[in-house]
């Protein structure tokens, strides 16, 4: 085929020459690129075993009745069609009702934490644009929440939100906002307590990314807007924000994708069962699977979470492509 494109380049190969047999082609490729394949092989194997094979199995398990007794030879478990999906998504059923509620919870949780994280991150990134002695030290210090292990950070927040010995109630009582110590980690309040902790842990990442984005804005644009007499707010609104749009897009979509995975903050602060008001898909699925041993229902629900994430991933890929176009 290459010979036809460049006539005379390979005189031994006539334009009409038959393609070599499949095995020969394979052998040629292997001979040429064998080293490359050998190099990626271990990584491919590891990811096959941990990612791709389980992913395919997960789809199959969602259509089977896999329980504690059939799990060791799950391939022999009976097919049950869409039963697992019916049980997982029936809004009137016990599990289904919890599932839809958990999907709402995680969406609400994400909307608040991502928006707040972005606003705070942006404010701090702008604040630290101004040079002052000790700036790089401050920039390093604000990363602390981001690098602290989740289990440590959320354990400390769980301690802070304790009713009788917690810092939050101590302050709210001292300020006279409440008379009785509030119960933060059980019932309707619990999702807000987790939100506060998650915002505290999440904004430094936004600040870090936005800082990098701000550094990428050429100084001339600001100088031009100054000559045009733009006020500080106008400079932010019409220069900084549009210039940060690509970074913002990526940051928000990545945050949304991570958010649907949210597990650590709920598991550490509220335990295996965070209660109806703060249950999220990950905690619900984990419980249904490893406490009630409904492997099939758990798989069906996790497929639904994946579907939600795939939609956002499609947005992400489109945003990336648009960004690449803009850069060209």
């Amino acid at each position: 085929m290459a010979a036809r494109a460049v006539p005379g380049a390979r005189p031994q190969q006539r334009p009409a020459a038959p393609r070599p047999p499949l095995m020969t082609r394979w052998r040629r490729t292997l001979k040429r690129y064998g080293t490359a394949y050998l190099f990626i092989l271990p990584a491919v194997l590891a990811m096959l075993l941990v990612h791709y094979i389980p992913m395919v199995n997960g789809i199959l398990v969602a259509f089977k009745d896999v329980n504690l007794f059939t799990v060791s030879s799950w391939t022999d478990a009976p097919w049950v069609g869409l039963d697992n999906f019916k049980e997982g998504f029936d809004p009137n059923g016990r599990i289904g009702a919890r599932f839809w509620r958990s999907l709402w919870n995680v969406t609400f949780f994400g909307a608040v934490t991502i928006a707040a994280g972005y606003v705070i991150g942006m404010a701090v990134a702008l604040l630290l644009q101004r040079p002052f002695p000790g700036r790089s030290f401050v920039r390093g210090l604000i990363l602390l929440p981001y690098i602290t292990p989740d289990s440590v950070a959320y354990s400390v927040w769980r301690f802070i939100f304790q009713a009788r010995i917690g810092l939050v109630n101590k302050w709210l009582m001292a300020l006279g906002i409440i008379d009785e110590p509030a119960i933060w980690l059980v019932g309707a309040n619990s999702i807000y307590a987790v939100m506060v902790a998650a915002i505290w842990k999440g904004w430094p990442f936004a600040a870090l990314i936005l800082q990098a984005g701000l550094q990428g804005i050429p100084q001339e644009v600001y100088e031009a807007s100054l000559i045009d007499g733009a006020s500080r707010w106008q400079r932010f609104r019409y220069v900084t924000l549009p210039m940060l749009a690509p970074v913002t897009r990526t940051l928000i979509i990545i945050s949304i994708l991570w958010n649907y995975n949210a597990f650590n903050q709920f598991y550490v602060m509220l335990g295996k069962d965070p209660g109806v008001a703060a249950d999220v898909p990950s905690t619900l699925i984990l419980r249904e699977t490893f406490t009630a041993f409904h492997f099939g229902v758990g798989s069906a629900m996790s497929l639904a979470v994946m579907a939600v994430m795939l939609i956002f991933t499609a947005f992400y890929v489109r945003a990336l492509r648009r960004q690449a176009m803009e850069e060209m």
Binding site: R32, Y33, T35, A36, Y37, F39, P42, A43, A46, M47, L49, V50, H51, I53, P54, N57, G58, V61, V66, V71, S72, S73, W74, F132, V138, L141, I142, L143, L144, I147, P149, S151, V152, A153, S155, V156, F159, I165, G166, N169, K170, M173, W200, L208, I209, A212, V247, T250, L251, Y260, F263, Y267, V268, S282, L286, T289, F295, S299, M306, M309
Partner: protein
Amino acid sequence: MAQSMAKRTAAGSGMRRRARWRKAAGTGLFYAAVALVLVTVLIPYLWMVSGSFKSSVELQAADVTRPGMEPSWIPRQFTLDNYRNVNRTVPIMDYFVHSLIISGGTMVCATLLAFFAAYALSRFRFPGRNVYIAAVLSTQMLPGILFVIPYFILFTWINHRFGIQLRDTYPGMILTYTSFALPFSIVMLRSFLDAIPTELDEQAAIDGASRVRTLFSVIFPLARPGLVSVGIYSFIMGWNEILFASVLTGRRTKTVAIGLLEYITAHEARWTMMMAASIIVSIPVVVLFTLMQRYIVSGLVAGATKG
């Protein structure tokens, strides 16, 4: 004339004074804002440190409703007992060792595998390359909860079929975390290797070095910053992971990330010891990150802004 001149300069100096005052106020406000940010960041840490030096008796007696008994910032009875007895109720030091082995193993395996794969991606245009890159990137998008169920089932099946137990073993956990760390590590290392000129490879080939020899004696030293940051990233990943650890580890391999939660049980809440353990658990991560902050941050930023 002279009078008006004096007036004007007086007015000018007044304006200048006001401008200077405004500037000073602005600077004051600016530093106040920076201080507010720092306080917000640091409060939980200070509360953690303060809690770790309190006696459990003091904390149990504390009550926000009783004046004079509120939990205090400065421990009323300063004690080191929590650090001394940190291992007594929860074998956190065993978990610490488990975590060191698992995270260390992950660090070595992930760095090595990512190095090979990134080298292949950087130096060869082999058929299937783009498919492979897409496959690597897409795994980052998929939820952990999607894998944990079939992964658990796969481990059970392997045990049933071949008699190889992977659950609650070091190799099983290292394999799991290595695979989690690979996508980001491959992407990051590839950009490092792309920056190393291919002329060096060719020079080594002319000198008669084999591919593997080139890889280890020419490329490896040059890619060291990238390798170190990938290694530290993998280590921290293994140290912090909770979801898979809660399902796949047992008595023999339990990691600090979930072991820490054992201080609070249905019967007893050992907050003061938990705070002491929290500090101990954070040390490796904070030290490693601080040492390598520059590399990791630039890698993270590149990963998020360039996709």
